[in-house]
C-alpha cells in the first residue's frame, strides 16, 4: 500500500498580509481512492486503514519559511496545544502517521493544521477545514486505478 502524500502550498506573504487561509493555502493529495475539494483548505483525503499519511508544506515563493507546528484532530479548541512537543525545533518535525486499522470507515476526521513562520514568537495561522475520510480497504480498487498503478 503506497502512502498518501498531502501537500500544503502556502503563499506566505499573502497570508501574513491579511489574506485568509482559504485564499492563501492550497491542499492536495495523491490518494488513489478519490479525494474531494483538492486545492482548497476543505480537502477531504480518502485514506485506507493502516495507510501511511504524510504532510509536507511548501512556500510558493520558495524563500520564505513556513513550517507545520502541529496537527490536531477532532473538535479541538482553537488554543489547544498542537500534537508535537515544543522541544524539537519546528523545522525538524516530520508529520506522518498510520491510519488506525480499527476505526469504522466512512466518517470524516477533521483536523486543524497549525502553520508557523520564520520569526521568533511569530504568528501561528490555524488552517481549519481539511479532513481525512476513512474508506473501506477495497475502495481504491473500485476507483479503478489502484490495481493498475505502475508503481
Amino acid at each position: 500500500m503506497t502512502p498518501v502524500n498531502i501537500q500544503v502550498f502556502v503563499d506566505v506573504i499573502a497570508l501574513l498580509s491579511g489574506a485568509s487561509p482559504a485564499q492563501a493555502v492550497h491542499l492536495f493529495d495523491d490518494s488513489s481512492a478519490g479525494s474531494e475539494a483538492l486545492g482548497t483548505t476543505g480537502l477531504v483525503s480518502s485514506v485506507l486503514p493502516g495507510q501511511l499519511v504524510r504532510w509536507t508544506v511548501t512556500p510558493l515563493d520558495v524563500q520564505t519559511q513556513v513550517w507545520i507546528r502541529g496537527i490536531a484532530f477532532g473538535a479541538a479548541p482553537p488554543d489547544a496545544p498542537p500534537s508535537a512537543a515544543d522541544d524539537p525545533p519546528v523545522w525538524s518535525r516530520r508529520f506522518e502517521g498510520y491510519v488506525p486499522a480499527d476505526i469504522f470507515p466512512g466518517a470524516p476526521h477533521p483536523y486543524r493544521l497549525d502553520l508557523c513562520f520564520g520569526a521568533a514568537n511569530g504568528p501561528i495561522v490555524a488552517v481549519e477545514g481539511p479532513a481525512l475520510r476513512l474508506v473501506p480497504p477495497c475502495a481504491d480498487m473500485v476507483a479503478g486505478d489502484g490495481a493498475s498503478r505502475l508503481l
Binding site: T2, F9, V62, D145
Partner: protein, 184 residues
C-alpha cells in the same frame, strides 16, 4: 499621465507584486498521471501573484506586468525516497509554448525574454554544488496588456530507465496588466 501602481488592478496587498519573485508552481501527481495516462485531475497550478485567477486548478491565469520575471517551478506529490533506496519517478518542465488566443496554434510574437531552463551553476566546482532546474523568463518589456495562453510541456519519468512520458497542460495563461512604469 501617471498611474499609481495599484490604480489598474484590484490588489488587496499593495506592493506585494513588486517586492516578491513571482513563482508559477505546478504540482504533479506522477503516479496518478501514469496510471490514468493523462494529467487531468492529477496536476494543478498556482502562483503567488495576488490578482491571479484559477489558482490551484489546471487553468491558472497569472497576473503579471511587462518586464516582470516569472519562475516556473514543478513539484511532485511523492518525493520521499523509498525503503529500497530508489526515488519515486519525477516530472520536469521541457517546454513552455505560447499559443494563439484560441490555443489552436503557436503564437507568433515573442512573449518572454530569456525563456529557458535555469539553475545550472556557472561551473561544476564540486559534486555538491547545487543545481536547481527551473524555467524562467522576463515578460517582454514592450508587451501589450492582454491574455497570453500557453502550454506547459512536462516530461514524466516512469520508473523504467530510459522510458519517459510527455504530457501537456493546455490551460494556463499570463494576464499581462497595464504597465505603470517607464515612458508611456
Amino acid at each position: 499621465m501617471t498611474l499609481r501602481p495599484d490604480d489598474t488592478i484590484n490588489n488587496p496587498f499593495p506592493g506585494q507584486l513588486a517586492s516578491t519573485q513571482l513563482n508559477i508552481v505546478t504540482l504533479v501527481d506522477v503516479a496518478g498521471t501514469l496510471a490514468a495516462g493523462a494529467l487531468d485531475g492529477h496536476a494543478w497550478m498556482m502562483d503567488n501573484s495576488p490578482d491571479s485567477r484559477g489558482k490551484a486548478s489546471a487553468g491558472l491565469e497569472t497576473a503579471c506586468r511587462a518586464g516582470q520575471v516569472l519562475n516556473w517551478l514543478i513539484y511532485c506529490a511523492d518525493t520521499t525516497r523509498r525503503p529500497d533506496g530508489r526515488w519515486p519517478p519525477f516530472a520536469r518542465i521541457v517546454n513552455i509554448v505560447f499559443l494563439s488566443e484560441d490555443r489552436s496554434s503557436v503564437f507568433g510574437v515573442k512573449i518572454c525574454a530569456d525563456l529557458k531552463i535555469y539553475g545550472g551553476p556557472d561551473a561544476i566546482r564540486h559534486p555538491y554544488t547545487p543545481s536547481y532546474q527551473y524555467w524562467a523568463g522576463a515578460v517582454m518589456p514592450n508587451l501589450a496588456p492582454g491574455l497570453y495562453p500557453y502550454r506547459l510541456v512536462l516530461e514524466l519519468e516512469t520508473g523504467i530507465p530510459g522510458e519517459t512520458r510527455h504530457h501537456a497542460l493546455d490551460g494556463p495563461a499570463l494576464r499581462v496588466l497595464v504597465s505603470t512604469y517607464g515612458a508611456a
